[in-house]
């Protein structure tokens, strides 16, 4: 079972990589057919990725969301899923050229982690695990997409001097709106993640909030996106400033996920 999972996992990386190259070719040769092929490859990649996660779950006999490898691969899955939804919903093909490299970076980080399957420690044996971690994946994926769109927002004027890109990159107002929609989805799910985490922590550790570094940095991330939402209401702050704040927010997300586990061990430091 683990062998199948390995094959599927590396096939996913290959498919995402080819999809990324196709998106780059689309930007270079300016042919819509190439973008369509890139999107199909990304969809197939997501399907194979889903199968890899399912096989991992079968091999482990539990939800595969408990260590750095499992969360990283699920995080990449979340970014890929949310980016595909936004590509299709907003007919925003060029988003793929920016989202697939981020997906590849995260799944590449997953590939560097230990892929051994360990039994769950008692604290992790809870029905809350699935809800808490899966909502975190959607939240992080949404923030990832908001981050990518914010980068496109900041680069738009430099990129879209030609007619083709002008046609394929939405106007700044729309980019700001799509980024906001993605961040809003992320905030909703992050709030749910924090609340379910607090309920679970109360049952497992006897305290629903104990200022553990992971809890604290989730709160910091939530506050940063809260500031983003408040600033966006102010017309002087929309656009560029909001985009910068969305990027800062995603840096916090990455620190909460990788930085905290690496530099600030606490009760969340499951190996």
């Amino acid at each position: 079972m683990q062998l199948i999972e390995s094959v599927l996992f590396y096939s996913t990386i290959g498919l995402y990589f080819v999809s990324m190259i196709m998106y780059f070719i689309f930007v270079a040769v300016k042919k819509d057919g190439v973008a369509k092929a890139a999107m199909i490859l990304q969809c197939v990649g997501l399907g194979v990725h889903t199968a890899a996660i399912v096989f991992r779950g079968i091999a482990a006999g539990r939800l595969p969301l408990t260590n750095q490898y499992e969360f990283a691969t699920a995080f990449a899955w979340g970014i890929c899923l949310v980016s595909l939804i936004f590509i299709l919903k907003f007919r925003f093909k060029i988003l793929g050229a920016f989202a697939t490299p981020i997906t590849l970076l995260i799944i590449g980080y997953a590939a560097m982690q230990s892929r051994e399957i360990h039994s769950l420690m008692p604290a992790l044996q809870s029905g809350w695990l699935g809800i808490h971690v899966s909502t975190a994946i959607i939240a992080y994926g949404s923030f990832g997409v908001s981050f990518v769109i914010s980068i496109i927002f900041l680069l738009r004027d430099k990129l879209s001097k030609g007619g083709f890109l002008e046609q394929h990159i939405p106007k700044k107002e729309k980019l700001d709106l799509i980024s906001y929609r993605s961040a809003a989805l992320g905030i909703l799910f992050l709030t749910f993640t924090i609340i379910t985490g607090a309920i679970w922590a109360e049952r497992a550790w006897g305290s629903y909030w104990s200022w553990d570094p992971k809890e604290t940095w989730s709160l910091v991330t939530w506050i940063i996106y809260g500031v983003y939402l408040h600033l966006r209401i102010n017309r002087k702050w929309n656009g560029k400033a909001a985009a910068i704040f969305s990027i800062v927010g995603f840096v916090c997300v990455i620190f909460t996920y990788i930085g905290v586990n690496t530099f600030l061990p606490g009760v969340h430091s499951y190996k």
């Binding site: 008692p122 709106l177 607090a198 910091v220 408040h230 600033l231 600030l264």
Partner: protein
């Protein structure tokens, strides 16, 4: 404007809220980076004398309970509360206005020359319009206007629930081995550990820690029993009991000139004075269940199974260390006339008992926050109105909320023409 008015305006402003949020985020980051609740010597080792002095002076060693952290959070609560109170009237007005025809301003997109406004409303899945002579108004999801307000109330409830819980909660820990009866702090409760089991998997990893406990009041015979394990606490006599952690304990037997004088259970990390010579103290540093002497790192254990136990102990006399060694089960420590033995190694369980009467308030706050966010983000406010012109056609107006131009694009497609205006936010 007087200073008082300026101050009032500032503390009720969004600008103040944003400043407080940023300061709070920075404060949380600092609190997470500096290890909390350590000794001065720890900080001086980590950050040097000057760094340690700064940390202690600024209460960065207990940042989340420091006066400045509480002050930031209190200011945030005041700001949230005042903003919410001040916004009520305006929200009521806006809610009322939402179903009425408005004089179109810059927040509306305009679509002239429409012949079938009701058909367009149907194609946009808008509710049936309110008709008033030559005017139509269709609006939906007005509740969204209250989303941020509800969310702020939720955050306030969380903070208040957490603060009250911190101020009033009672928390105790008690540890022991099966058969022991222990007081639960000064709660007036007594707990008997009936049994403690460690469930192991085939690969020797721990599947679960389970303790069977009975709890009763000191002066009452009302006994309540439960089996508790990690993730499965039990509510007994108003407290919630958690299986918190475990470790090793052993029986210590002390005899003098061959006569037994003392027998106790000693957990690893505990010390015990000899009853008739209190200056003589035995400290049980650690128990190794599957003892192994590592040539480099010293005493160690090969597994968690109690197959070859050994005891690392220290002996003190009047505060001075007499010796420290590893003792095997068959060995005896001899100090003058005293003989000391360790036997019956076993697991002890550490049980946490907690009462927090305000957890429910924080939970309600969480649910309200979620509801507010959902209202704010996923209920899309729509308002489309139309006015009959002299030439018999209708001019339709779409109110653009929160710079949401996506619905305006749908409107444009439905009408089949370009709208005018509507690029500014109505919020």
């Amino acid at each position: 404007m007087t200073v008082l008015k300026k101050t009032w305006k500032f503390i009720t402003s969004m600008k103040f809220a944003v400043i407080l949020l940023i300061v709070l985020a920075v404060a949380c980051s600092v609190g997470s980076v500096i290890t909390q609740n350590q000794t001065y010597s720890y900080y001086s080792q980590q950050y040097g004398e000057r760094g340690a002095a700064v940390i202690v002076a600024l209460h960065l060693d207990d940042a989340f309970h420091s006066w400045w952290f509480i002050a930031i959070t209190s200011f945030l609560c005041v700001n949230l509360l005042l903003c919410n109170i001040l916004r009520i009237q305006s929200l009521i007005n806006r809610t009322r206005k939402a179903s009425e025809y408005e004089t179109p301003d810059a927040t509306f997109s305009e679509y002239p020359g429409v012949t079938d406004p009701e058909g367009i409303l149907r194609s946009l899945r808008m509710p049936d319009p309110k008709k008033d002579g030559g005017r139509l108004v269709s609006n939906t999801n007005t509740a969204v206007l209250w989303g941020a307000w509800v969310c702020h109330i939720g955050v306030l409830l969380i903070i208040i629930g957490f603060a009250l819980g911190q101020m009033t909660h009672r928390e105790y820990v008690a540890y022991g081995v099966p058969g022991e009866t222990l007081p639960v702090g000064d709660s007036g409760l007594v707990m008997t550990i009936d049994d403690f089991r460690i469930g192991l998997r085939e690969d020797d990893t721990v599947e679960q820690y389970t303790a069977d406990i009975t709890v009763f009041h000191e002066n009452s015979d009302d006994r309540q029993s439960a089996s508790i394990s990690v993730n499965n606490p039990a509510d007994l006599h108003g407290y919630r009991f958690y299986q918190n952690s475990t470790g090793y304990a052993a029986k210590i037997s002390i005899s003098k000139s061959g006569e037994p004088i003392q027998e106790n259970i000693l957990c690893a990390g505990e010390f015990i004075p000899v009853t008739d010579l209190p200056q003589l103290v035995i400290y049980l540093n650690a128990i190794y269940p599957d003892y192994y002497m590592d040539p480099v790192s010293g005493p160690s254990t090969l597994s968690g199974k109690l197959v070859n136990p050994a005891y690392l102990y220290s002996i003190y006399y009047s505060g001075e260390i007499l010796g420290m060694n590893v003792l095997m089960p068959e060995e005896v420590i001899t100090v003058e006339d005293y003989e000391i033995r360790f036997t019956d190694p076993q697991n002890y369980t550490l049980i946490q008992a907690k009462k927090d009467s305000f957890t429910w308030l924080a939970l309600i706050g969480g649910i309200v926050t979620m509801a507010g966010l959902f209202m704010a983000f996923y209920l899309k406010p729509r308002k489309v109105q139309a006015e009959l012109e002299e030439d018999g056609t209708w001019t339709m107006y779409n109110k653009v909320y929160k710079r949401d131009t996506l619905f305006d694009e749908k409107m444009k497609n439905a009408v089949g023409g370009a709208g005018q205006g509507g690029s500014d936010a109505a919020d």
